[in-house]
Each structure stands twice: as structure tokens, then as C-alpha cells.
Symmetry: C2
């Protein structure tokens, strides 16, 4: 279906907004009046610019406080409308949004409202314009979609229809099923916005916290299905007032926005007959494991020291690039000393996800607007499919190491069978076998990756990881750092073999020093920590007060408590099991965590994060 | 009375928090458990550090989910409590906060709650500790202060009392009058927090939006009067969870916090008998006019050009400093090319406020913790009283130019009679009289100053201007800039002769380029704009679309509309009158506004601010 976005959803000048919407791939826009008023371009210039960009102007909005007014006031409404309809002609916009009145002068009289809207529609007709009447959730007398439709029906003019806005409908808890009773051709417009479920004043909620479909808690797919079953075939248009998006760059926000509409259409499709032209991106291919994490570093010595102390062995080297593979059990870390290294120090720049069908995973990512990364590789390197996540992290889709070579279109093509990413690496010492778990306390695999997101892109990141990668989101949690509240939200696959904890700091000022970490799974964190320390590794010191509190809260035996104290191991439990974890020092912008999950514990020790963050601040190396 | 603050109200490590509280002048602190857990200091070290700083530990907090539990669970509560009481001994804290249970296991049984709290109090007594039981607004069964008191009374143990928290009481809309029915010696503790009036989930409201007394919408003075009438004489303690304060530097926040308690005591005093030792700072001396605004500039040429085009005349020069006085009617602008000038360009660094008693105004500011500025002056310069506002702006208190020389203690002292600030200036050309209003369209006085505040200090700034300077705050308004929402809140004196619009940008990232502006009052803005343009001044261009919209919205006659269009004049009206205003270009971090208020208009044209902000962005000189 056609997609559209209200200019108020994006930051910048009107022309910046139009450019961003067009670049992302939208078909049209809603012109928000304030954006037009603030633009130095004439309406004709805006019309031309929009057309040049390949966009249509699907809606001009809003007109407020038009109807249900004493006659003298309504005469002023008509006067204003005449100006606006003339403007719309210059602009080439044929539909205007009229919001239900919030004026203190408005009368609770549907007949009057209908009569005045009829007169407004007659005037609109003269200008070749149609009026879409919408119930604001806080409208003075008309504040539900069915009430608005009743007024429109009573008014009975062909140039008057209704506009549905998912926020206004769902925020009030209205049952959207009744939408199917509205003739589709009388639904002149559909505005879509999601929102986190919050108990707060609906006007504030609407003006500051709306978000794109799939980023909040509303059932937008259910609502859309009702609207399409009613017969609506106009644009799916996003109207999102959001304090963060207002500050974010328009380009990435527009991409995020369009992606949300593609995923929404995909989710809504099964509920509808085939005749409805909903977008159908390639099906998700859920990753089945973490193939590797890649560190880029300007100084390999401290990284090698840390990995060595953690029990990793440098097993292989890339044949064409300055990249080493460090391995322990199923945990693989690439250390890249190539040109991407910067003075900011060691950073986690790429992750490899094992995929049952890497090419299909990449096709889905591309269809969902993830930037596809150029394959900077030598001729005979493995063809790795990679896209950029919203935070810039490179995400590689890889065939699992133990599996047969990937199949699919590329395998079926004329060229040689594709190779696995490990095929590009040569063992550093043919005589030494690949390191394998060596008894208790060795590292088995990467438990999770903790990636701090740019402040403006937290919602976008969660939608990317869920919508594009097919992971499942967990609840967002607040974590108190000594200098502000962080938020964290994990995304996982079903068996927990891929876990990514997306974090965000308290303010955009922290974006410059985003810290990432790699959590390594072991069956015995105490033993792992002991080995690490014995090998010269430095564990993050945890205050004794923390362990005193553990003793007060839990029945841990004295011997274990002494071990936890000695090694700075933190402890948590949930309804499913227990979690023990400790941290290494930070190198550049990266640190490691050793974790032991027992009995199906599902979390990430968020309860302990404030202590960890304070301890990292105390070392002078703040974490995230 | 004694003042105290919960460590959770301040940012940083525990020792940073303690240091900030002590430096600001608090008598004691509440130790928030998480701050202790995250501290590398032992309880004994914390006790010693606190004592060294001259602070007492007035409360240890919180214990949660202690009471009204099945016996096995309560046994665990007691076990935990034993650990905590032992810790409190080491810490030297004698009172612990117990919050009413939110546990899903808690039983709705007051008798059980009372019985278990009695047992807890018996245990506490063994450790020389007392228990203060508080109703959380979202407590599972006990969530009002009177209910909590009933349980405490039923428990009947001398080591058990109640803790009152203004947020929990006022957020639920409880009538605080009943507090007077609680014996004062059974109120073990009083926690004070204000909050903006918001319709939202009370737990979220409490955890993120609390603020210091006077910064929100609660009647804290009324509540405090009830508590003191009940006979409570313990500390007045602040417990504020606030997302912004968590990020702000602890030092200024602690000063802000203590200032709020001083103002609160002052406001509460009239309601109480003299025996209650409430703070009594010198009475407010409300400023009666704007004496001057001071610009510091590294390049006087563009500033002189702009002031000249605006109709100002350089009338005098400071006798000892590189400061010129520019004047037009009652508007005075000092231009300082001294050492404070920086490469950031022209900035508004100081304001002079006319005061009926400058010395008394300064004494109040000092008593309310405003940093008193050193008087860097020559021996015979006028003794100017100045303090720093939270944003660093220097605020000078000046005798009005037309009045007799200031009286008061300084005048009564042995030295010569103090001089006026203008006495330090000599006319630049004795032959030229001071510029006076020259017909319509000349500038009469400074209408208002618009000062963008550091992001973390917006609430603090409003409290400073109201509490310290005695101005009255108006409603906070949101203003949409193309790149995020700004907020603005004006403070004024009664007759509007002093108006300061405090603004704040969308995020702390913008702090580096805080823009200020000076609005100049004229009786004919069109004429003033014409003269400015004729003199070579550049007006901020306003889009034609804006004026088309004006035509649609208002009955302005065509001739006037043409004038507004031509000169880029914006228009607004309110219930009282009309407002016409236009803007100059920006120089460095400063621009000017010409404003014409007619018929008692009270606002600042906030409705037009988005258009102005977009126009400034379009010139490449974003405003604020």
C-alpha cells in the first residue's frame, strides 16, 4: 500500500523533512501547517519540490476548532477555511484534516456540528478539496471515532469523510472493531502511531510519547486489519509526535519510520484476503547463534593480554586482512588492527550471527531498509552478507560452522559454492588444535552482547533487532548509574543462544563514549575468575558492602559468599534460576563479563548493574 | 530547623554526594542503601567521612516488604533486618525507614502488620535503633499516612514511629490536616519532595519527576505547618528522585536543594508560633526595573553597528574599565571589551536590576546561597552588590537612577555615601545630552531579557529567580524548534517592569551554544523596524506563509498586514491585548527583539516562537 508520513514526525526544516521522507522511500507526506508557516518557500515552490522528490501531498493538517460553534464563531471558521482551501490549491493538496473541536465555545450538539461540517464541505467542494474529520481523544464533545463517524454520516456530504488515527482510538481504549461498520470510501485518511502503554494524561501522552508502529504497546496490526476490511485503500500514514525524534536526524528517523510500516503490513497480511496489496518482505530468518564478535583496536597488546587471561587462544589469522581469530569453546572474538582502528581505542564494531540461511536473512534486512555493507574482500574470500544496525554496528549473517555450506539462490548460481567465513582464516600454528573447553571454568560461548545505542536511536534499535533480525524483545528496565538513569532492553531468540542487551545512557551527551561489552558463558564463574586472575587479569573490584547485603538478602552459604567476595562476583536470582557474574577491566570502549546461568535464569543481572556501574566509575573507566 | 538530604537526590559516588551536601550547608543526610552498597568505603569509613564533613546520618533507607507477611517470609524479613541494624550501628545511624509492603505475598491484615512491626521494633531496640514506618502511595494495603499511623499506634512500641513523605501524601490527594492528630514525638522523620502536577501513574511520577520544594505544584508549606503543629522537630529532609538531577553536578544541585528548604521555612513561618526555629532569611526586595544588560564582546564593531542601527547612542564610558554605556530612553546596554571576552563571540553576561534597597537584596541573595561576586572595582567605584545566577549570569542590584542614593546599613556606616553605578561612567561627549525618546518608534526601555539556561538547571533557575529575587513565575510553555522542543518560563515583577524569560533547549548537548536575547520596548514596532532597516540593520526575514496565516486567523487590515509582511513583524493577541514583535540578526550568542505591547498583553509571543526559531535556523544562526 502507499505509505505517507506527517512532516511533524521528522526534525528540521520543511525541505529537510521532505528530502528525508523521499530518500527513505515514502510515497507521500502530510504537510503539518506549522512546518509550512515556518518555511521560506511559497506553496507553489513546496508543491514543486515535493513533486521533484517523487512525493505526493496526501494531507494538509490540521484545522482546529471549526465546528459546533455559535454562528458568529463559525463564520470565522469558514473565513479561515476559505484561506486554507485556497492555499491547498496552490499546494496541490486535496484533503484537509479537521480535528474535533476543543474550543470552550463548542456546543454539545451533533446536529449543529453536522450542519456546520456540511457547510464546510460545500465550501471545500468549491475548491476541489475534501475534508477528513477526526475525533481527538480529548475533543470537547466528539472524542471517539464512532461519534465522529456519526456526525459525518449525519452531515451527508460527499466532500466530507472521516480520518482515523490509531492513537486517538487506542489511547481511549475504544474497540476498533466498529471501524468495519464505516464504508471504506468514507474513511478519507488513516493516521498510524503507536505509543508505550502509560498511565498519563492523554494529551501529554499524545504530544510527547507517540512512536512508530511496533515500538509501543498498541495492537496496530489488529486496528489496521479492521480499517482494511472496511475497504480503506488510501495511504498508511504515520503521524508521530515524539520528543526524541524531534531532536534526531531526519534521515535515519524516516528510514526507521518506513521500516515500521513495512513490518506492520507484513504482520497484518495474514488477516486479510490476497487482494489487499500489503508489503511482503522476505520472511524473517531468526539467527541461531553468535558466530563472532569483532573488536577493532589500535593496540593489539592489551587486547591480546586480556583475551589470553580469559583463556582464549589465537587460533587463526585472516588470509588478506590484519584480523586474528581468538577462540575458546564456541566463543570467537576477531581482533582487527586494520584501518578502522581509531584513537578512541578498542571498540566492538561488528557481530556475526549464525543463520540457517544467511542470504535470505540479508535479503530481508535489505527489504527492510538496512544499509547493505559493501563486501570489502579479496576475490576468493567467503561472500559474507552484512548490514549496518542503526548504531553502525556491522551485522554479518554467517552459516553455522558445523553445518553444510549455505544453500539458496547464490549456491544455485553458476559460481563456485560459497565458502564459510572461517575459510578465510588460516590456522596460526598448524600443530596446535583449536582450543576446546578445558574443564570447569572455561568459556563455552558468547552469552550476550551488550551494545550501548546512540541516545536518539534506542527505539529504532529495538525495532531493527526485532523486525529485521527476528529477535524477541524483553521488557525495558531502568538502571541507575551514579550520573543518571540508563535504560536497557534485551532482544533474544527462542533458545537464548542469541542475546543482545541494547542499552542507552541518560542523555545524548554520552553518545561520544558508548561502551560495549561481551559476556562470556561459563559453567563455573568462580573458577573462570580465578583462572583469569591467576593469568594476570584484573577483575572489577566490587565493594564489600554489596556482599554484606547479599548475605542479608539470600541464604548463600558462608563458603560461597567468601568466594564471591574474593572475586568480585555478583549474584542474582529470578523465578527460574540463578545468575553469577563478574567483570574485567575496560580496554578502550570494551570490557568483558563472565557469566554463569543456572536453572534457566532469564535476565542479565540488571539488579546488580548500579553497583557495577559505580565500580566502573570508581576505576575512572565509566561503563554503560 | 535542621536540614537533611537523601543521598539519592544527588549524583555521583557516595562520597561526592556527602561532600556536596556538606559544602552546601546541610546538617545531615539520609543514606540511600544502594549508594552504600556501591561504595568501596566500609560503613566505619563512611561514618568517619560523614562526621569529618560535619554531617549527621539522620536516616538509613529503605527497608522494603518487611511486614504483613506469612510467618516464614517475615522470618526472612527479621533476618535481613538483623543484618541491617548491625550495619546501622557500624554506620552510626539510629533511624531506619521501612516502606509499607508492596509484596504480592503481603496480607491485608492490619493486626498482623502491627504485630510484625512490633517484633521488628523489639529487634531494633536491641540494636539501639528506631524504625520509621512510611506509607508508599502505591503500598499494597497500606498507602495513606493515616493508615500507616494507625498500624504504628496499634503496634505500640517506643522504637516504632512513622515517617511522613510529602510526595506520598500529596500525590494521593490525602488531606494533610490529619497529621496534627499524630503525636509529634511519634513522627520519627519527615521527607519533603515537591512535584509538578501531572496526571500519570504515581510510581513513575514519584521515581522520575520529584523536585525540590517550590519547584513543583504541591503545597509543601501547608503540609509542613501541619507537621510542625503536630510537634515534629526532627530534620527537614529532602528525598527527590529526578531524572535530571541524577545527571546534574552534585554541588549546584545540593545548593539548589538547601535553598528550597530555606525558602520553604520562610513561607511556613507566618503560620506558626515563634518558638519554632524556622529559617528567616532577610525579606525579599522585589526589583523595580532593569538597570542595564551587559554584553561582553571580543569585537565591538558589529555590536556598535547593531546598537547604533537600533537607535542607541554611546553616552558614557566607564572610568576604569573598557566598558561603554549605550542608551536609548530608559534602555541601557553596557558593552564590555574586557578580559571576559572570548572567541565564542558576543554574550550577555550580566544584568542590572533596579532595587529599592540593593544592599538588602544582596543580603537576601547571600542568605539564600547565591554566590556573592567579588567587587572587582577601583577604590572609588560605586559599591555594586552582585551575585551569580545559576546559569552564571551576574546579577547586579542597583539603586534606580532617579532615586536618592541607597540607604541602609552601608549608608549608615562611617564611609562616604555610596555612589550609583552610573557615577562610574563619564559622558563620552559632554556636549551631547543623554539620548531620549525621539518620537514614535524609539526604544523606551528593556521589555524583557530571554536567558537560555543550562539544561540541568532549569528548575533551579526558576526557583532562584522567584525565591531569591522575589519575582513571580508564569506557566511553563513548550516551544517547537525544528530540532526539538524548547521550554520557556517567564518570571516577572508585579507591574511587568522586570520580565525575564527563562528558556531551556531540548537536550544538554545544546548547552555549549546558549543564546540570549534582549527585547526592547517601543510604542511603534513598525516605525522602529523601519528606522533600524534604514540605518543598515538586518531584520530576521519571516516567511510569507506566516503572514498568509495571520490573514486567515485575524481581522488585520490589509494595510497593516502589508507592513507586517514587509518588515517581518510577528503578531499575537491574548485576552488582554496585542503584541507585535520582530528580530534582529544574531551577533555571537545574542540578538535583539523589538516589541510593542498594547492593551496589557501579558505574554512573549510564544505562539510565534517556532516560526522565529525556524527562521533563525534558516539564517544559519540558530536561536533559543
Amino acid at each position: 500500500m502507499r505509505t505517507s508520513i506527517a512532516t511533524v514526525s521528522l526534525s528540521g526544516s520543511l525541505t529537510e523533512k521532505l528530502t528525508a521522507a523521499a530518500r527513505a522511500g515514502f510515497d507521500g507526506v502530510e504537510i503539518f501547517e506549522n512546518d509550512l508557516l515556518a518555511s521560506p518557500l511559497t506553496p507553489e515552490e513546496i508543491r514543486d519540490r515535493t513533486a521533484d522528490l517523487g512525493l505526493t501531498i496526501d494531507l494538509y493538517q490540521p484545522m482546529r476548532d471549526v465546528e459546533a460553534l455559535p454562528e458568529a464563531e463559525f463564520a470565522r471558521s469558514l473565513r479561515r477555511a476559505r484561506h486554507k482551501f485556497a492555499l491547498m490549491r496552490r499546494l496541490g493538496a486535496d484533503t484537509v484534516l479537521v480535528c474535533s473541536s476543543v474550543s470552550p465555545l463548542a456546543v454539545d450538539d451533533d446536529a449543529l456540528a453536522a450542519e456546520q461540517l456540511h457547510r464546510l464541505a460545500r465550501l471545500a467542494e468549491d475548491f476541489g478539496v475534501r475534508v477528513a474529520y477526526e475525533a481527538l481523544a480529548w475533543g470537547r464533545h466528539v472524542n471517539t471515532y464512532d461519534h465522529a463517524w456519526t456526525v459525518v454520516e449525519t452531515a451527508g456530504h460527499p466532500a466530507l469523510g472521516t480520518c482515523l488515527d490509531s492513537f486517538h482510538i487506542l489511547a481511549r481504549g475504544s474497540d476498533p472493531k466498529g471501524i468495519e461498520d464505516i464504508p471504506g470510501d468514507r474513511i478519507f485518511f488513516l493516521q498510524l502511531a503507536d505509543a508505550p502503554l502509560m498511565a498519563m494524561d492523554v494529551l501529554q501522552w499524545s504530544r510527547h510519547y507517540r512512536c512508530f508502529p511496533g515500538q509501543g504497546g498498541f495492537d496496530l496490526s489488529g486496528l489496521l486489519a479492521h480499517v482494511l476490511r472496511a475497504g480503506y485503500r488510501g495511504p498508511l500514514s504515520l503521524e508521530v509526535f515524539n520528543d526524541v525524534f524531534r531532536q534526531a536526524a531526519a534521515g535515519p528517523t524516516a528510514v526507521d519510520a518506513l521500516r515500521s510500516l513495512l513490518v506492520l503490513q507484513e504482520r497484518t497480511r495474514p488477516a486479510l484476503p490476497d487482494g489487499v496489496a500489503l508489503a511482503a518482505p522476505p520472511a524473517p530468518v531468526v539467527p541461531t547463534g553468535v558466530a563472532f564478535a569483532e573488536l577493532v583496536t589500535p593496540d593489539v597488546v592489551p587486547v591480546a593480554g586480556l583475551l589470553g587471561a580469559l583463556g582464549f587462544t589465537r587460533t587463526a589469522r585472516h588470509r588478506g586482512k590484519p584480523v586474528d581469530l581468538w577462540q575458546q569453546g564456541g566463543a570467537r572474538v576477531l581482533v582487527n588492527t586494520g584501518p578502522a582502528a581509531s584513537r578512541e581505542g578498542t571498540a566492538l564494531t561488528a557481530i556475526g550471527l549464525e543463520s540457517p540461511d544467511p542470504a535470505a536473512a540479508a535479503r530481508r534486512a535489505e527489504a527492510l531498509l538496512a544499509p547493505v555493507l559493501p563486501r570489502r574482500r579479496a576475490l576468493d574470500d567467503a561472500a559474507l552478507d552484512a548490514v549496518a544496525a542503526p548504531d553502525g554496528t556491522e551485522v554479518f549473517f554467517c552459516a553455522p560452522i558445523g553445518s553444510p555450506a549455505p544453500s539458496g539462490p547464490r549456491a544455485a548460481s553458476a559460481g563456485p559454492e560459497p565458502r564459510r567465513w572461517t575459510d578465510d582464516f588460516e590456522p596460526v600454528d598448524a600443530g596446535v588444535p583449536v582450543a576446546r573447553p578445558a574443564g570447569r571454568g572455561s568459556v563455552d560461548r558468547i552469552d550476550h552482547l551488550a551494545l550501548t545505542q546512540p541516545w536518539h536511536q534506542f527505539d529504532e534499535a529495538a525495532l531493527f533487532h526485532r523486525g529485521v533480525l527476528g529477535l524477541t524483545g524483553q521488557e525495558s528496565v531502568d538502571v541507575a548509574d551514579p550520573y543518571g538513569l540508563h535504560r536497557s532492553r534485551a532482544v533474544t531468540n527462542a533458545d537464548g543462544s542469541v542475546r543482545i542487551a541494547l542499552g542507552v545512557g541518560p542523555a545524548p551527551t554520552d553518545d561520544g563514549a558508548r561502551i560495549q561489552h561481551i559476556a562470556l558463558a561459563t559453567d563455573d564463574v568462580a573458577e573462570a575468575a580465578r583462572r583469569f586472575r591467576a593469568a594476570g587479569g584484573r577483575l572489577l573490584p566490587i565493594p564489600a558492602n554489596y556482599h554484606d547485603d547479599l548475605a542479608a538478602r539470600h541464604d548463600l552459604d558462608a563458603e560461597e559468599l567468601a568466594v564471591l567476595r574474593d572475586l568480585g562476583i555478583l549474584y542474582d536470582r529470578d523465578a527460574h534460576g540463578e545468575f553469577r557474574h563478574c567483570y574485567t577491566e575496560t580496554i578502550g570502549r570494551v570490557f568483558f563479563e563472565l557469566v554463569q546461568r543456572d536453572g534457566g535464569y532469564r535476565g542479565y543481572g540488571a539488579q546488580n548493574a548500579p553497583v557495577r556501574l559505580a565500580a566502573q566509575h570508581a576505576t575512572g573507566r565509566p561503563g554503560r
